[in-house]
Subunit: 269 residues, 2 copies
Amino acid sequence: MASNDNNDQFPKVQGGGSLILAWQVKNKHVLVVGGGEVAAGRILNVLNANANVTVISPSSGLNPEVRHRIANDEVTHIDRVFEPSDLEILPPSNGPPDMVLVAIDDPDASTQIWKLCKEHRIPANIADVPPECDFYFGSVHRDGPLQIMVSTNGKGPRLAASIRKWIGTQLPVGVGDAIERMGVLRTKLRQMAPSPEEGPGRMKWISKISDAYSWDDMCSLTDEDMDNLLTFYAPDKVPHLDMLKAMRGGRAEEDIDVFDGSFGFSVVA
Amino acid sequence: MASNDNNDQFPKVQGGGSLILAWQVKNKHVLVVGGGEVAAGRILNVLNANANVTVISPSSGLNPEVRHRIANDEVTHIDRVFEPSDLEILPPSNGPPDMVLVAIDDPDASTQIWKLCKEHRIPANIADVPPECDFYFGSVHRDGPLQIMVSTNGKGPRLAASIRKWIGTQLPVGVGDAIERMGVLRTKLRQMAPSPEEGPGRMKWISKISDAYSWDDMCSLTDEDMDNLLTFYAPDKVPHLDMLKAMRGGRAEEDIDVFDGSFGFSVVA
């Protein structure tokens, strides 16, 4: 096919998807309107992402989980129905909320809140009303720092949940811990070699470790192992885990006999 | 443990996660500032979610993929650097953008755009500058309507990509098609039984089908099979796929001999 603009060279656009994003709500102010079961789920979602949460709902409408969050000081509670001024001055920050999640059984009131949010340019989700949502929630598997979100874009929520559960059973045990350990290693490496110029070198070495080590290897890295591992960064080498184990207790790399082929360096160059 | 507020009864808050959301940008106006490789990736992300995209970048800074999107009329191109007024009047909508994605090699200009976006309350992502991001992108597996996003919350982007690839190889072949077919079935069911009161009944029956049918079964459903399947909605039954196959060509359910036990109804009550 002779053409000045070869279509096959670039990925084809596959419309119909969502833009799946990891929203940062740490220390942001999220308003949840409603106190029932759906609200309880939303509250847990945003608390897991370290948001400051204000729940507006008459006490009579609170389910036991929301009551527990309030009693436990995990959220701020305002004991009344929503008022339009809540989008301007909301305790405890007394500024406008950064995000609004509505889960009440009153379609007309919901629609009014949605319209006000759009006037104030505040991202919002009205539960069960897709046209009144800037974003949808999905089915999320969580294991420490690892989050896996499954969306079928509304075609099969039940199937999304079953795929999410299936992924959870298939993932190696301890994968969340392994990722956490690699996060610690990255932090230690950045402390040891902080200059921005080393960024690409740091990334390359961490990638090599990520590719060479099994999930079990990563999980088993002690703080001492990590400190020993970091001595291999400057020469840009990747030792086998057995080498790190042999170095425990202060033995230097050069004192260790490579006696059975299981020690020494990974083939990853 | 005697307590008025039993902590064990409710899920514990696990901080440190992100709020993973399926953002709806269909027909929304997304501004991409920059025309290099990172911008090309962002543009594909938002086009896959049916956004209207405007790219601001001098022509000299466009990579071949972005050039291709422009030549193909997939995006609107403005051939210059960003100007603050772009956040107020942006072609082709001539309104403010709903989202801004910045991918330029100029940290000072990036920070300026970020601050302007915050003044205008426009969600924004400045590539490679985590503190100047309302949201992060992750590693997404796509198969038709199915999207699976893997995030390690910055602890191991390489590991996120490898888990995403691994999930892609482990998923049953055709799972995206299966979900698409179930989406068609849901649409047909809503057309056949449109009343809102039937919502819970529709959801329950579709869930039964989702649980009883294998991915292969779902994939193999023809339009004729679906029409036959819908006749089982009123009596709230779930036929085996073999029954649907036997009904092809206009045979009625009652004319089909249940001769070998493979026909008849699923055990799912």
